[in-house]
C-alpha cells in the first residue's frame, strides 16, 4: 500500500513528493488524533490567556506545527524533509516559549533550539552523504542504492545522533525535561506525544532506507533503548514536578520503542522474519500507544496545574474529590503507561516482551544475551513505572490537600478540556481491549520497514497469548469487583466511622504529615543514588528538643551535570579567550567578511 503525490518545486534538488506508506500511516494516525485533541483542549486551556498574551500567534504556530508534522512524516524527498523538519523545530520553539515572561521558559526554549539544531547538523551530513552516494534526493531512489558497511555504519551513527536528540534518547535528552514543563500543557502533550516521535520516525525511515545494516547497529539500538528506558524512569521517580516527571517518562518510553527497534534489527540481521516484524511492529504500536496515553497524562496534568496553579506535586493532594472526572482519566493514562493489562501500554510492551523471548530462544549467544538484558530491563522499567505512578496518583489525587489556606474551587474543567481527554482515554481502553485493528496496522508498518511480504507470517501467534492474558485480567477484575461488592454487602448494616488517621500520638496533625513525593520514592532513589546524583540538604535533628528544620532533596541529571555542563563551560571558556582578543567594532567583523570574500575571489582566479 503506497500512495505517492508528486509535484515539481522551484527549489534546487527539491520536489514536492509526498508518500503515504504503512510506516507513515501509523505516525500519521498518532499525529492526527493528538493534534486534534490537544488543539481542542488548547481552546479551553488558552481561555485564561485571552487578551493578556498573544494567543493568535500561538494558534498560528500550532497549525504550522501540525502542517510541518504531516509533511515530515510523508515527505519522500530529502530537501522537503529537511525543510519541513526545520519548520517543525522553529514552530515548536515558538510554542514552547509562550509564557516567555519567565526566565526558565526562555532558557528552556533556547536550549531546545540549540539542541535540535545540533541534531539538524547531523541530519544534513547524513542526508547529503546518502544523496551523494546514491545520486538522488528521493527516498525511494536512495533506498534502492546499496551502501558499503562503513558508510552504512556512519549513516546509522549520524541518524542515531541527529534523530536521537529530537527523540530524547539518553544522553542527548537534556533539552527535553526543561522544555516540556515550560510549554503550555497541550503543547507538552503534542511535543511528547508526536513531536519527539518524529525522531523515532526518522530512525525507522533510515532502517527502511538502509535495508541491511552492520550487525553491531542492532546491539547499539538495543543498549541505547535499555539505558534510556531504565535511566528515564529512575530520573522520573526522583522528580517533584509533575510535568518534568512526565517528561522523563517520555524518555523511558522512547527507550522502550528503541528497544523494540533493536529487537527488530537483531531479527533482520539473523534473517528471522517473525522476530523482525514482532520487534518493529511492537515498537510502532508503542509509538502510537505512547502518544495516546502520554497525551492524556499531559492534558490531565495541565488541568491539575491550572486548578492548583503550581506544578509541584508536594503542594497538591486530594484532587480526586475536587476534579473527579480528571482523576479517573488520569488514572486510565497512568495504568496504561505502567503497562497494565486491559490498557494499551500493555499490548505493545507485551509484543516487545514476546519478541525478546523469541530472540532469547532462537538467536545465537550474543543476540540471546542482549535479549535477556532487554527482558530484565523492560521488567524493571515496568515495575519502576508502576512505583512512579503510584507516587504521582497518590500524591496528587489521593489523600488531602497539602496547601494551607486558600482552598481549591471544586469542579472539573470545561468540556473543551475534558472531551479531548475522554477521546484519548477511550482510545487507550479500546486498544487495550481490542488490539487487533491497531496491531495489524502496526505490524504492516513493521513488515514495510523490513521489506517483508505480509503473507509470510501469522499474526495470531502473538495475538492468541495476548487475548489469553486479557481474558485472565478480566477474570481477575471480575473477582476483585465481586469481593468489593461482597464487602459492601456484608457491611451494609454497620456504619463505618470516618476519623483522622492515627499519627503515632502527635496531637496536631496537619495534611503535611502525608507522604510527600520525595519521601515516597526515597527508598528507591536512595538505592540507586550513585546513578542519579541525588542530593539532600538539611533535615538533620541534632538536639533533644529540635526547633524548626528544613529538608530539601533533588535529583540531578547526570548527562547534564557531568557531561554537557563541563563540556559547554570549557567551550565557553575557549570562546571567551578568543572573544577577549577582539576589538569590538562592527567594522572589524565586516572587514573579516570582506577580506574573506576577496580571498574567495582570488582563489577562484587560481
Amino acid at each position: 500500500m503506497e500512495h505517492i503525490f508528486q509535484h515539481s518545486w522551484q527549489v534546487p534538488f527539491g520536489e514536492v513528493s509526498l508518500k503515504l506508506d504503512p510506516l507513515s500511516l501509523i505516525f500519521l494516525l498518532a499525529v492526527s488524533i493528538l493534534v486534534v485533541s490537544a488543539g481542542l483542549y488548547g481552546v479551553g486551556y488558552m481561555r485564561l490567556y485571552r487578551g493578556a498574551r498573544p494567543v493568535g500567534m500561538h494558534i498560528f504556530f500550532y497549525l504550522l506545527l501540525a502542517l510541518a508534522l504531516v509533511v515530515v512524516i510523508t515527505a519522500n524527498n530529502v530537501i522537503l524533509f529537511l525543510g519541513a523538519w526545520e519548520v517543525m523545530t522553529v514552530a515548536t520553539y515558538f510554542l514552547i516559549v509562550f509564557n516567555d515572561e519567565k526566565a526558565a521558559t526562555r532558557k528552556a526554549g533556547f536550549l531546545y533550539l540549540i539542541a535540535t539544531h545540533c541534531g539538524v547538523f547531523c541530519l544534513f551530513l547524513m542526508f547529503f552523504l546518502m544523496s551523494h552516494i546514491s545520486g538522488s534526493m528521493n527516498f525511494d531512489a536512495i533506498a534502492r542504492t546499496s551502501f558499503s558497511p562503513v558508510v552504512a555504519g556512519t549513516i546509522f551513527c549520524l541518524a542515531l545522533l541527529g534523530f536521537g536528540i529530537k527523540a530524547g534518547l539518553l544522553p542527548f535528552h537534556i533539552w527535553l525535561p526543561h522544555a516540556h514543563p515550560a510549554a503550555p500543557s497541550h503543547i507538552s502533550a503534542l511535543l511528547s506525544g508526536v513531536a519527539i516521535k518524529t525522531g523515532i520516525y526518522g530512525i525507522c525511515r533510515i532502517l527502511w532506507i538502509m535495508g541491511a545494516l552492520p550487525d553491531w547497529c542492532a546491539y547499539v539500538l538495543l543498549i541505547m533503548g535499555v539505558v534510556s528506558g531504565v535511566m528515564g524512569v529512575l530520573y522520573a521517580l526522583g522528580q517533584h514536578e509533575l510535568k518534568k516527571l512526565l517528561a522523563y517518562h517520555s524518555i523511558e518510553n522512547i527507550g522502550i520503542i528503541v528497544l523494540g527497534l533493536g529487537v527488530g534489527s537483531l531479527g533482520r540481521g539473523h534473517q528471522m522474519p517473525f522476530l523482525t516484524v514482532i520487534g518493529f511492529g511492537g515498537a510502532l504500536l508503542h509509538v502510537f500507544n505512547h502518544s495516546l496515553f502520554k497525551g492524556l497524562l499531559f492534558l490531565g496534568a495541565g488541568a491539575v496545574i491550572q486548578k492548583t496553579r503550581t506544578g509541584e506535586m508536594d503542594r497538591m493532594g486530594g484532587l480526586s474529590k475536587v476534579m473527579p472526572l480528571v482523576s479517573v482519566l488520569f488514572l486510565v493514562g497512568a495504568l496504561a503507561i505502567c503497562g497494565l493489562p486491559l490498557f494499551n501500554g500493555f499490548i505493545s510492551e507485551f509484543i516487545i516482551f514476546f519478541g525478546l523471548f523469541q530472540g532469547l530462544i532462537h538467536l545465537p549467544l550474543p543476540g540471546a544475551a542482549a535479549c535477556a538484558l532487554g527482558i530484565l530491563a523492560l521488567a524493571l522499567m515496568g515495575a519502576l513505572a508502576l512505583a512512579c505512578f503510584t507516587k504521582v496518583y497518590g500524591t496528587v489525587f489521593l489523600g488531602r490537600s497539602r496547601r494551607a489556606g486558600e482552598p481549591v474551587m471544586p469542579g472539573d474543567p470545561s468540556r473543551w478540556m475534558t472531551i479531548p481527554m475522554l477521546i484519548l482515554a477511550g482510545s487507550c481502553v479500546w486498544i487495550g481491549l481490542a488490539p487487533e485493528t491497531m496491531g495489524r496496522i502496526a505490524f504492516s508498518g513493521g513488515e514495510y520497514i523490513a521489506h517483508l511480504d505480509s503473507s509470510r507470517f501469522n499474526l495470531d501467534q502473538v495475538m492468541a497469548p495476548l487475548s489469553g492474558v486479557i481474558g485472565g485480567a478480566f477474570v481477575f477484575l471480575a473477582l476483585g469487583s465481586l469481593l468489593i461488592f461482597l464487602r459492601r454487602f456484608l457491611l451494609r448494616r454497620l456504619s463505618v466511622p470516618v476519623n483522622e488517621t492515627w499519627a503515632c500520638g502527635f496531637s496536631q496533625v496537619t495534611p503535611r504529615f502525608q507522604y510527600s513525593s520525595a519521601s515516597f520514592a526515597y527508598s528507591i532513589v536512595n538505592f540507586v543514588k550513585a546513578l542519579l546524583l541525588s542530593r539532600r540538604h538539611g533535615g538533620q535533628l541534632d538536639t533533644i528538643f529540635p526547633g524548626k528544620a528544613h529538608v530539601s532533596s533533588s535529583v540531578h541529571d547526570a548527562a547534564e551535570e557531568s557531561m554537557f555542563r563541563p563540556l559547554l563551560s570549557r567551550l565557553g571558556g575557549v570562546s571567551k579567550i578568543l572573544d577577549d582578543n577582539q576589538v569590538r567594532h562592527t567594522q572589524w567583523y565586516l572587514m573579516y567578511i570582506f577580506l574573506f570574500l576577496i580571498f574567495l575571489l582570488a582563489w577562484k582566479m587560481r
Partner: protein, 217 residues
C-alpha cells in the same frame, strides 16, 4: 541597446566611487538616489525587441523604492532625528578612493575568469556589479556611523541587483527576491530611526552584549 547598458553600468560604478569620496551624509544619500535611478532605468534596455511587462514592473519598483522612498526616509531622518551630518571615516577619503580603484581593477580582473549561464547581455555587467558590491562593502567597513552602514549595504545591494539583471532571463525569481531585500532594508532603516541609533551599532564589552543576545547558560 548594449551601449546604453554599458553606459549605465559605468555610471553606477562611478557613482559608487563618488559616494566613497563624499564627506557629508546628505550628499551620499543624494548620490545613492541617483545611482538607484540609473539602476532602475537599466531594465528598459534589456530587451532590444520591445519591453515586457515584467521589465516595466521591476524598473518602476526599483525606482519607487530606492530612488524615492528610501532616500526620502533617510533625508527625513537626517533632518528630524538630529543625526550628525558628516561621516566618521576610519581611513581618509583619499585613501578610500585609492582602495576603491584597486577594488575596481581587481573586480575586472576576477570577472575575466567568471562565466555566467546564458548569453551575456553586456560584457561590463559582471565586473561592474562585482565592483559595486565590493565598494558598498568598503563603505560599510570604513565608515562608522549607523546611517553610513545602511548606505553601504544599499550600495552593495544595488550591485547585487545589477548582477541579477544579467541573469534576468535565466533565473526567474532572483530579481523579485532582490526587491524583497529592499523591503528588508526599509525595515532596517525604520529600526534605526525608531531606536535613534546615531553613532554605531552595539559596541559594548563582549560580556555585556552576550547577556543581551541570549540567556542560555
Amino acid at each position: 541597446m548594449t551601449t546604453w547598458i554599458d553606459a549605465s553600468c559605468i555610471l553606477i560604478v562611478f557613482l559608487a566611487l563618488t559616494m566613497l569620496a563624499t564627506y557629508r551624509i546628505v550628499g551620499i544619500i543624494k548620490i545613492f538616489a541617483a545611482q538607484s535611478f540609473v539602476l532602475g532605468l537599466t531594465p528598459f534596455f534589456l530587451h532590444a525587441d520591445g519591453l515586457t511587462i515584467r521589465d516595466i514592473v521591476i524598473a518602476m519598483g526599483t525606482i519607487v523604492l530606492k530612488t524615492a522612498f528610501v532616500p526620502f526616509v533617510l533625508l527625513w531622518a537626517m533632518r528630524h532625528v538630529s543625526m550628525r551630518s558628516e561621516i566618521k571615516p576610519i581611513i581618509g577619503l583619499g585613501t578610500s578612493i585609492v582602495f576603491g580603484a584597486m577594488i575596481i581593477a581587481g573586480a575586472f580582473w576576477v570577472s575575466l575568469s567568471l562565466h555566467l549561464p546564458g548569453k551575456p547581455i553586456s560584457d561590463l555587467m559582471l565586473p561592474c556589479s562585482l565592483s559595486t558590491v565590493l565598494l558598498g562593502f568598503l563603505i560599510m567597513v570604513t565608515r562608522t556611523r549607523a546611517v553610513t552602514q545602511v548606505l553601504g549595504y544599499l550600495v552593495m545591494e544595488n550591485g547585487i541587483f545589477l548582477f541579477t539583471l544579467s541573469l534576468f532571463d535565466v533565473m526567474p525569481t532572483l530579481i523579485e527576491m532582490g526587491i524583497l531585500l529592499d523591503i528588508f532594508v526599509a525595515v532596517f532603516i525604520m529600526a534605526i530611526i525608531v531606536n535613534h541609533i546615531n553613532d554605531e551599532f552595539e559596541r559594548s564589552p563582549a560580556s555585556v552584549s552576550r547577556s543581551k543576545m541570549g540567556e542560555a547558560f
